[in-house]
């Protein structure tokens, strides 16, 4: 009996959870007329046009390339800066270190949408506007604090004796960091890198306002343009949404175990 209730509850919740995805997939195979005509559970006349046009006729190929470049570069950039910083916060004491650590978190929490105008002026002035590296830098305001916070937790978990031993063996600090510590952090780096990739891939606000040309605009920004277009084609939006979330659906298999830890900034392990 209890088992049946359990299964029924989980099943109900799963329907609630999966239905939007189902609807999205169905919509992507419907023609424009069918979508605005009313509600049909299955496409009456399945078509692939919604995928074909945005991908092969429009500029979305370039957007996908930009998204890959930005997301990968962002992951590398954030990890490179975060490794030494996380080590400093984990192992060393310095003045006001707790305050700085807190300050990092406030940046992750700040409502970025509210500061668009200041950002715009800055980025235009510094010629970072509409460039790939500009997007990488601006995305790191949320991603870098995130990486440092989590990485510190991972470094905390490594016994100090190993470093001591390395120093006794005559390693310099940097040698120790890259030859001893880094290999031990490899799984953590992979997970964090994937998270940064996913976050950057889905960031839309800066992506849409701070880029203008196919040379720099990532897919998420392009999707917003599509969505806000005057004569909305929901089928193509659904198709593009599916294309946008595919990398994430792949990532889930690897990240699922770490989502709780990542989104609580390491409070839950």
């Amino acid at each position: 009996m209890k088992r049946i209730i359990t299964i029924a509850l989980i099943a109900t919740y799963m329907v609630f959870l999966i239905f939007p995805l189902y609807w999205l997939v169905m919509t992507s195979f419907k023609s424009r007329l069918e979508i605005i005509g009313g509600v049909t559970l299955l496409p009456s006349n399945p078509t692939l046009n919604n995928y074909y046009r945005p991908l092969f006729i429009d500029v979305y190929g370039a957007y996908i390339r930009n998204s890959f470049i930005i997301s990968i570069a962002e992951a590398v950039f954030c990890l490179a800066l975060a490794i030494p910083a996380a080590y400093a916060f984990s192992r060393l004491k310095f003045k006001a270190d707790n305050h700085f650590f807190f300050w990092l978190l406030t940046n992750r929490m700040a409502p970025a949408a509210s500061f668009l105008i200041p950002y715009y002026s800055m980025y235009v002035y510094l010629k970072l506007f509409d460039t790939l590296h500009g997007l990488i830098i601006i995305n790191s305001i949320a991603n870098l604090p995130f990486t440092i916070w989590l990485l510190k937790g991972f470094v905390d978990g490594i016994p100090k004796d190993i470093e001591e031993a390395a120093f006794i063996d005559g390693y310099t600090f940097w040698q120790m960091l890259y030859k001893i510590l880094l290999p031990m952090l490899r799984p953590a780096l992979a997970v964090l890198g994937l998270f940064i990739f996913v976050f950057t891939w889905s960031e839309m606000l800066f992506a849409s306002l701070f880029t203008t040309s196919p040379a720099a605009m990532p897919l998420s920004g392009g999707l917003l343009h599509y969505l806000a277009q005057t004569w909305v084609n929901w089928g193509e939006i659904a198709a593009l949404t599916i294309i946008t979330i595919i990398p994430m659906l792949v990532g889930i298999f690897y990240l699922q175990k770490y989502i709780a830890r990542a989104l609580t900034f390491g409070a839950i392990r």
Partner: protein, 527 residues
């Protein structure tokens, strides 16, 4: 002496006009007893506006230059700019897709000037170009603007003055560029007569109805039985509401939808400026952009910069109240969810064949006419929108024409190339083909071209509607005197949304609107 005689002539014309107007009214009123209201109205329009029309410059296109000559000119004139790339920011919809896909490549081939397009939503176009101009970033060489935004730009000189540009570079003026031929141009000039934007489109906001329903003998019969008069495109809002009630047959068919739905969104503001205030007489008389006391659609007096009746404004007038009431009256006959819709969804409802009649942006007609995208292809017709029976008078605007064009931001990196592009869009080399594809043109010579006749029926008769210079007069654009479009629009739509939601009665809403607009005008430094 000369002065005197000239005055006399002036006065005579004036008297003649007034006499004609009175005569027209009398004839119209008399005819009203016998004729159908629609004919009366049309007669009124013809008799009164003809006089205005004859006073303006007669519109005759200069004989079109032979095409080869023009092509040679383009190749020659653009030489110094060949190889540059201009970045163009524009709204993402069919007319601009056409420019990107057809006209743009042709331009690049002829002139060697490349175009880097950025097509995005109306809101993002606004945000991006405002940020660009305000900061002087210089990203965009040319931007596509609804001319109501241009008013905001000119207040601080954020756009290039085309008239000045033409004086400096006479060699860049296309030989076929004839200001008299480009009929929306008066709405793209400031009060001093300087051209600030070269129009690329003229899309009146018309009434649209389903011919399959309106011409069905059974429907006609039923309608006559129920209401006691013929079913036909309405002249007045009370008739429109009857028809709306008649055709409301959920869930497949509804009676009416406004062009912008009823969502608490900027579009609610547009709809009132463009349709409901003018057609209910809230924005006064006068069909020319300058000089007018009241800003068309906005009900703000430009002498006193106030919207209250006591200062010559009109936003708390009975006419404005009537406009809000009329808007509320059709909501029950609209498809469900109209309060969550803006122009996009309203257009979808029309294309899906869910409404019998609507007010529509004619930008959408090429979509409606495409059987792959719409269920009403070949089954719709457009005509003049209805007006309020009590408050609308001849000489008052009926509706709105969306006149969008290319402006050049002051910080544009390539103003000359952008000027060439703006002219090329409407060059006789493209204009006819463009009119055929996306049902718009800004040239009288093209509009009257018999080659468009076969397409007229496809686009619901929109060409024959705007070929009539008199009917065209009744679709007014927004004059460029309106600065600060965005902050004022915000006040408009948030206040009107309260009436739509039922928080305020129409009367309270009108009073509140006048009060809030006056307050905002003071804040913006108009007084």
């Amino acid at each position: 002496m000369f002065d005197m005689s000239e005055k006399k002539v002036d006065r005579r014309t004036w008297i003649a006009t007034v006499a004609a107007a009175i005569g027209g009214l009398a004839v119209g009123a008399a005819a009203g007893y016998f004729a159908t209201p629609r004919e009366v109205l049309e007669k009124m329009i013809t008799t009164t506006v003809e006089k205005i029309e004859t006073k303006t410059v007669t519109v005759t296109g200069s004989p079109p230059k032979p095409e080869e000559e023009l092509i040679r000119w383009w190749k020659e004139a653009s030489k110094p700019y060949s190889g540059t790339t201009i970045k163009v920011l524009a709204q993402a919809w069919e007319p601009n897709f056409y420019l990107r896909d057809v006209v743009g490549p042709k331009f690049t081939e002829l002139t060697g000037i490349k175009i880097d397009w950025e097509l995005t939503s109306n809101e993002l176009v606004m945000e991006k170009e405002i940020l660009d101009m305000e900061r002087g970033t210089g990203i965009y060489s040319s931007t596509y603007d609804d001319q109501d935004m241009v008013g905001t730009w000119i207040r601080k000189g954020w756009t290039y003055d085309y008239t000045k540009l033409m004086d400096e570079h006479p060699e860049l003026i296309e030989p076929a560029f004839n200001p008299d031929d480009i009929f929306p141009l008066p709405y793209c000039k400031d009060a001093k007569g300087h051209i600030l934007s070269i129009p690329a489109e003229y899309f009146p906001k018309t009434y649209i109805y389903r011919t399959d329903l309106f011409e069905s003998p059974k429907e006609k019969e039923d309608f006559r039985k129920k209401y006691g008069y013929e079913l036909r495109p309405p002249r007045y809002y009370d008739e429109m509401l009857d028809i709306a009630e008649f055709f409301t047959r959920p869930p497949d068919l509804y009676g009416f939808i406004g062009a912008d739905g009823a969502k608490a969104h900027e579009a609610l503001g547009f709809d009132f400026f463009e349709t409901w205030f003018p057609s209910c007489g809230a924005t006064g008389e006068g069909l020319d952009p300058y000089p007018r006391d009241l800003l068309p659609g906005w009900g703000i007096n430009t002498k006193t910069w106030s919207s209250r009746m006591e200062n010559g404004g009109a936003l708390d007038s009975p006419q404005a109240v009537r406009a809000i009431e009329t808007f509320l009256k059709w909501l029950p006959y609209a498809p469900p969810g109209v309060r969550a819709m803006i122009y996009v969804e309203s257009g979808e409802q029309q294309a899906a064949g869910k409404v019998a009649q609507a007010i529509t942006y004619t930008q959408f007609l090429s979509t409606y006419a495409n059987p792959e995208l719409s269920k009403i292809a070949g089954k719709f017709r457009v005509t003049l929108p209805p007006v309020d029976r009590e408050y609308w008078r001849p000489y008052m605007p009926i509706g709105y024409a969306d006149i969008s064009g290319y402006t050049i931001p002051w910080c544009s990196p390539h103003p000359e190339a952008a000027f060439l592009w703006a002219q090329f869009v409407i060059s006789p080399l493209n204009e006819l083909e463009r009119a055929k594809a996306i049902n718009t043109t800004v040239r009288t010579s093209v509009l009257t071209n018999p080659a468009l006749d076969p397409l007229d029926a496809k686009f619901g008769g929109v060409f024959s509607l705007i070929r009539d210079p008199i009917a065209r007069k009744y679709f007014v654009g927004t004059p460029l005197e309106i600065g600060d479009y965005a902050p004022l629009l915000y006040v408009f739509y948030t206040t009107l949304a309260k009436a739509v939601a039922g928080e305020l009665t129409p009367k309270e809403c009108a009073n509140e609107l006048a009060r809030a607009i006056d307050e905002e005008l003071v804040k913006l430094g108009y007084k």
